[in-house]
């Protein structure tokens, strides 16, 4: 019975790790970039954008529409519906940040002239990694976002499972117990000292 459980844990530990390898690589690379942000970005220049289109937008909005309703309508009408943030600037312009993993979009609607400017962010590896790292949660009303959020939760469950199953598998290998206990105690002691001073 114990050997069956042990084999099951080993195999699950392995296959989950293989499946989640891209997530591990992405979180590793993005963590490294964020940890060295001041070196990587210098004075953090603003993202650069290229114009995709700048033309009149003739859609009519209901009188009760707020900027969120307007954003949804604009995005749907240009076939770009998806996770976004919207803000209304002091000059009345509606600015929609349409999330995208590689190249986010920015749509600026000018209500007076009824023009819609659509821009796309130029590729930037650091910004891309940071965006992926921070993308999570179920706050957007889109199935795609929920699916990604679920994959993040699955990754978190994987991390905790690796830790717990790893402990079990270590304890089964009697020959590694002494050095393993030293490594574990050393890690805990160092972590505890950070907790004490930081």
């Amino acid at each position: 019975m114990r050997s069956v459980l042990s084999k099951l844990l080993r195999r699950t530990h392995l296959y989950i790790a293989l499946f989640l390898t891209p997530w591990v690589l992405m979180y590793t690379a993005s963590t490294f970039v964020m940890n060295h942000k001041s070196h990587a970005h210098g004075s953090a220049p603003p993202p650069r954008w290229e114009t995709l289109s700048d033309k009149p937008y003739d859609g009519a909005f209901p009188s009760s529409a707020n900027e969120h309703d307007m954003a949804r309508q604009i995005l749907a009408s240009v076939d770009m519906d998806g996770a976004h943030q919207v803000s209304k600037r002091g000059d009345g312009k509606i600015v929609i940040q349409r999330f995208a993993a590689v190249q986010p979009l920015r749509l600026t609607y000018e209500p007076v002239s009824k023009r819609l400017l659509i821009e796309r962010q130029l590729p930037n590896t650091s910004a891309f990694l940071e965006r992926m790292h921070r993308r999570r949660g179920y706050q957007h009303p889109y199935a795609l976002e929920d699916t990604w959020a679920f994959s993040v939760d699955f990754f978190i469950a994987g991390v905790i499972f690796w830790a717990l199953s790893g402990l079990w598998l270590w304890w089964e290998m009697k020959v590694t117990r002494t050095f393993g206990a030293l490594a574990l105690a050393g890690g805990i002691a160092l972590f505890a000292s950070f907790l004490a001073v930081l």
Binding site: A17, V24, A100, V159, A163, F191, L198
Partner: protein, 200 residues
């Protein structure tokens, strides 16, 4: 000692040493991923998050002009209040500068009202979810001291993750009976991730 033996032991001992960080990042990611839930849970308690602990009137301090460097200002306030930990400042409005100071366990903010020369100091009530996310978000080499040492450990965790992947792949490849299912897991994971990159 054979290469495969070293490979297995590296995978194991590195994991054991970095286990606290691994658990920290795992547990804190739950809070990040379900932030709304934790916020609602706390708001249901109906207890203020920030608690006023001090107020100083006639607090004279040189104020930097608009767009000026706020670091010396923050350092002076933090020193006057006898606080330790990381700190920074931002201009909340033309008439107000906020200084924040934090450790893993405590977070303090000092609001300086320029016209009134008044400094209001508040402590943030301790919350486990904030404690975890605060540690998760700590990093970078800007502050020096122990913070830099922590940042080095963050790099070590990154290096550790890469080593787990490499050593794990080698261990997998040396188990021929797991190759078919292993390939299936690896390829389906890569394809799922690529699909997300394409669609997200």
């Amino acid at each position: 000692m054979k290469f495969l033996h070293i490979n297995r032991r590296t995978h194991l001992y590195l994991s054991l040493f970095l286990l606290p960080w691994f658990l920290l990042y795992g547990a804190s990611s739950i809070v990040f991923s379900h932030g709304t839930y934790f916020e609602e849970l706390d708001q249901a308690k109906r207890i203020p998050l920030w608690i006023k602990i001090a107020e100083r009137t006639n607090y004279e301090i040189p104020v930097p002009g608009e767009g000026g460097d706020l670091k010396p200002f923050a350092e002076r306030v933090v020193t006057d209040l006898g606080l330790n930990g990381s700190h920074g400042a931002f201009r909340q409005s033309p008439n107000r500068i906020d200084v924040f100071n934090f450790t893993f366990w405590r977070s303090t903010q000092a609001k300086y009202f320029i016209d009134e020369k008044r400094l209001v100091v508040e402590d943030r009530r301790f919350r486990w979810d904030h404690f975890l996310t605060g540690m998760h978000a700590s990093g970078g080499f800007e502050e020096g001291g122990w913070r830099n040492f922590w940042a080095v450990l963050v790099d070590v965790v990154c290096a550790g993750m890469l080593l787990w992947i490499v050593t794990g792949l080698i261990m997998w490849w040396k188990l021929p009976q797991t190759r078919n299912w292993g390939w299936l897991a690896l390829v389906s994971g890569a394809m799922s991730f690529a699909w997300f990159l394409w669609k997200l």
